[in-house]
């Protein structure tokens, strides 16, 4: 394997990881405050991608302009649907169960994930270009084609970088800078930290913890929507069940980075993405294990990473929490 190939694999891994990281922030923020694994978060990511596709499909004006110009509108639409879904889930499914035994919200989350997937599968209002004509279909029963960014891929010293990759990294950078500002510098950010450390006492400080929880869900939803758009642009198609594996990976990233830590989520995502990419790509260069390289095994390696992290450093890379809070 040449150095260029190694760099190519690493770059791909970083981009993939940035996408995981964007989703992982939602898991980690919500977990940090309410100790809930929001299994439906993968579906929030999926909804973001579909929201972007809906607006593109149904607003013909967007087909006339460059996709770059349509992007902000698509992102906005995806964000709206993701945030609304995430906040509604919190309000109507999770909040009534706060204080119930731990299994109840987890199972609700699973039910919710199934419902969101099936709603898109059965009822998504779609328009597809078939033989130069836009045709309306209901339900995303087939993979849906996603519009592609125009322009040649960039060549950076032999490494090929797609424009969608650049965009993904851009989203990740903006998101992390924004989050850092939010957590450190804003009143709400400080309130969120307080609520994560001790929700009862945060209330005694005058913090409306319910509102903080809604904000955590909303931020997670918005970042997941950005990841969803990035996913569509990068892979060219989206499916109703794309949130399942992506959500699993993103949760792995959140654990890897140290659950509850938003920077850890992004770091964990990138580490996971790079490991996955190098394992899949790298192993195919080694004769003895050549068979275990390639895309078919990459999910397996991501899982092995998760198990290893739990064995070696259960707190995660940036984990600070020392024990369970009762």
């Amino acid at each position: 394997m040449t150095l260029t190939e190694l760099l190519q694999l690493t770059t791909g891994g970083v981009v993939l990881g940035a996408m995981y990281g964007l989703i992982a922030v939602g898991y980690t923020m919500v977990y940090g405050i309410v100790q809930l694994i929001n299994f439906a978060h993968g579906e929030i990511f999926m909804l973001g991608a579909f929201g972007a596709l809906f607006v593109y499909a149904w607003v013909p004006a967007l087909h006339e302009i460059s996709l770059w110009l349509a992007l902000p509108i698509m992102l906005a639409a995806g964000t709206v649907i993701s945030v609304v879904a995430a906040v509604a889930a919190e309000r109507f499914a999770y909040r009534p169960l706060r204080g119930a035994p731990r299994l109840a919200p987890l199972i609700t989350a699973i039910g919710l994930a199934i419902v969101l997937q099936q709603l898109i599968f059965l009822y998504a209002p779609l328009r597809e270009l078939r033989d130069d004509r836009w045709e309306t279909t209901v339900g995303a029963k087939q993979p849906q084609l996603f519009p592609q960014l125009p322009g040649e891929a960039l060549q950076l010293g032999g490494v090929t970088v797609q424009w969608a990759d650049v965009l993904t990294l851009g989203f990740a950078v903006v998101a992390m800078l924004g989050l850092a500002y939010f957590v450190r510098r804003t009143r709400t950010g400080r309130a969120m930290q307080a609520a994560a450390q001790d929700p009862d006492i945060a209330r005694l400080m005058g913090i409306d913890v319910d509102k903080i929880i809604v904000i955590a869900f909303a931020i997670g939803g918005a970042l997941a929507a950005a990841a969803g758009l990035a996913h569509g642009l990068r892979y060219g198609q989206i499916t109703f069940d794309m949130g399942f594996i992506a959500g699993l990976k993103a949760f792995t990233a959140a654990v890897l980075g140290g659950i509850g830590n938003v920077y850890g989520a992004m770091l964990g995502g990138i580490v996971l993405g790079v490991v996955e990419s190098l394992a899949a790509g790298g192993l195919s260069y080694v004769d003895a294990v050549q068979q275990f390289g390639g895309g078919a095994w990459k999910d397996v390696w991501a899982f092995v990473v998760l198990i290893l992290v739990l064995l070696i450093r259960p707190r995660g890379l940036l984990g600070e929490r020392t024990g369970d809070r009762a």
């Binding site: 204080g99 119930a100 419902v115 059965l122 949760f251 095994w297 739990l310």
Partner: protein, 571 residues
């Protein structure tokens, strides 16, 4: 709940003699309803179940008849007839109301279905009108009954032989009901059955009968176990249709796996979201040594006991590899690791096809042509006739599965009642406290996890032979076909965590309902998801609640309301 306030009728009626009139009307209504089932309800046989025959009930009429007869028995209880009073230890009125509702809803459903599917009320014949008026009258009269709820002292234990007989009668009755539901021939009949059963069970519930029966069962555990086993075996005798025995065998596989999962989730509180993978591990292990020509290890099959041991061993090994790193850390991580494991199992099995990886499992094609079991010369693939009763292929497997479940129930009950079982409950309720009491929580959690894996591995080795083919896609987190991890979890949670009957019942419902209601079609999963959400809101302890669990969920606990606005206090 006695006292003047509780003694109110829902439908107002003249106060004097109200009870007498209403009671007489209910009895008459139920009797006429029963009688109406001997008349035709429609003129054409094109409505499913042929309701055109005069002289005996058919199709949905049977359901109406049975409910009406049960109602008549409760009317007897309301009149204080000596033998029947025991049916309603806590008062007959609530039971009569719920039963009247069962009668009205299930009968009304059929009559409405006749009018709608055949196009209008002209399709009603005099018999339909009689039935409609009778059930409506019964319902109204039942609502006018005065409340006679009372606190019931637990009945004194009767002689042993009588209690044993009652236990047998109850379980055989349950068997007949289950058999009827399984063998319903068309959707209308099944819906009528479910409606009637649902309301009737509720009705009997408020009458206080189940409490008496469960006390009875608790007193006579040996008799109950024997009776349950007999009922399970008797099904094979009374049900001979191949389609239904196949369904029953699959229900049992599903139920067995759900029971295994219940050790993990229900007893020790560990959320396993990839449980079906252990079933898959067992099934693949069984398939590989089954002698299938498509297995890598063709040739003579290993004896069944050896295959079972291998299936269990491999499943336990997988369980320990997954569990050991995960169970040391925060409980929630287990959910995600097992979810990942379930997915990874499928991917690995898919990849071990000789192209993407070493050849072991034939990848997506799976291992077909798994031969039937032969145990002590008894070929499960052949028909056998014993004492004039013919056992087909699925009946053979059904009988084997009844034994497998019996073993599992035995293990479950013994372990649940042991020192280990109590330690699991302690871990489930408060892990830190359990640790402080000197419980080695990690080892016990691992034990629960491994025992659960072993159960699934055992079920898997049998399943491989029943389905004759194992493919990776049979073992997913979610699909429309049970068993899959989400359905298994739902069977446990909806049925009742930590109980034996809960997962078996939940499993049966989750398997049979989609099978029977074809009109769900592709909306099945959507409804499944909604059911999970609603159950967690409305009845988180499941259909058959474990007493301890019910306390956990239904404490109007302050912790649950903590820090939230709590309105309406003295304001």
């Amino acid at each position: 709940m006695s006292g003047a306030g509780a003694r109110r009728a829902i439908v107002p009626a003249p106060a004097a003699g109200r009870g007498t009139v209403a009671r007489a009307l209910v009895t008459a209504g139920a009797a006429v309803s029963a009688g109406s089932t001997f008349l035709p309800w429609t003129w054409t046989a094109s409505f499913p179940g042929d309701l055109t025959v005069a002289g005996y009930p058919g199709g949905n009429q049977v359901i109406t008849l049975v409910v009406a007869l049960v109602m008549l028995a409760y009317c007897g209880a309301a009149y204080g007839l000596p033998g029947l009073r025991a049916l309603a230890p806590r008062g007959a009125t609530p039971a009569l109301r719920a039963l009247a509702l069962a009668l009205a809803v299930s009968t009304g459903y059929v009559l409405a279905a006749i009018a709608i599917t055949l196009g209008g009320l002209v399709n009603w014949v005099p018999g339909s009108w009689v039935a409609a008026v009778a059930v409506l009258l019964t319902l109204l009269a039942a609502l006018a009954l005065p409340d006679d709820r009372r606190d019931a002292p637990p009945p004194a234990p009767g002689p042993r032989w009588r209690e044993t007989l009652v236990v047998f009668a109850v379980l055989l009755g349950g068997l007949v009901l289950a058999d009827y539901g399984l063998a319903t021939e068309h959707t209308e009949q099944f819906i009528g059955y479910v409606l009637a059963l649902g309301f009737a069970v509720r009705g009997l519930g408020v009458s206080g009968l189940p409490a008496v029966i469960s006390a009875l069962i608790a007193r006579n555990r040996v008799a109950t176990s024997v009776a349950a086993l007999c009922a399970g075996l008797a099904f094979a005798v009374i049900q001979t249709s191949g389609a239904y025995t196949s369904l029953a065998a699959n229900v049992l596989i599903f139920g067995a796996v759900a029971l295994g999962l219940n050790i993990v989730v229900g007893l020790s509180g560990l959320l396993d979201l990839g449980y079906v993978a252990f079933l898959g591990v067992g099934a693949y292990a069984g398939a590989l040594v089954s002698g299938s020509t498509f297995s890598r290890f063709t040739g003579t099959p290993l004896p069944f006991w050896a295959a079972v041991l291998i299936g269990i061993a491999v499943a336990v090994l997988a369980g320990v590899v997954i569990g050991a790193p995960t169970l040391r850390v925060r409980g929630d991580y287990l959910a995600i690791v097992t979810l990942g494991f379930g997915e990874i199992f499928r991917i690995v099995v898919n990849n071990l096809d000789g192209v993407s990886g070493p050849q072991l499992t034939n990848g997506p094609n799976g291992i077909p042509n798994i031969p039937d079991l032969v145990i002590f010369g008894y070929d499960f693939g052949e028909e056998h006739t014993v004492l004039g009763v013919t056992f087909g292929r699925f009946t053979n497997y059904y009988l084997l599965l009844v034994l497998v479940i019996a073993v599992m129930v035995f293990v479950f009950a013994r372990v649940g009642d042991s020192r280990i079982g109590r330690a699991w409950v302690a871990i489930r309720e408060d892990e830190v406290a359990a640790q402080a009491m000197g419980v080695n929580t990690f080892r016990l959690k691992l034990l629960a996890f491994a025992l659960g894996a072993a159960m699934a591995g055992l079920a898997g080795t049998v399943q491989a032979h029943v389905t004759t083919t194992v493919t990776p896609d049979q073992y997913q987190f979610l699909s429309t076909a049970p068993p899959n991890s989400a359905f298994l979890l739902a069977a446990v949670v909806l049925g009742g965590m930590g109980t034996i009957t809960g997962p078996l019942l939940g499993g049966a419902l989750l398997f049979v309902i989609p099978e029977k209601l074809e009109f769900f079609e592709d909306k099945q999963l959507l409804l499944f998801g909604l059911t999970l959400i609603l159950m967690m809101r409305l009845r988180p302890e499941g259909i058959v609640p474990n007493r301890r669990r019910q306390l956990e969920f239904h404490e109007e606990e302050i912790a649950g309301r903590e820090g939230r606005a709590v309105a309406g206090v003295g304001a």
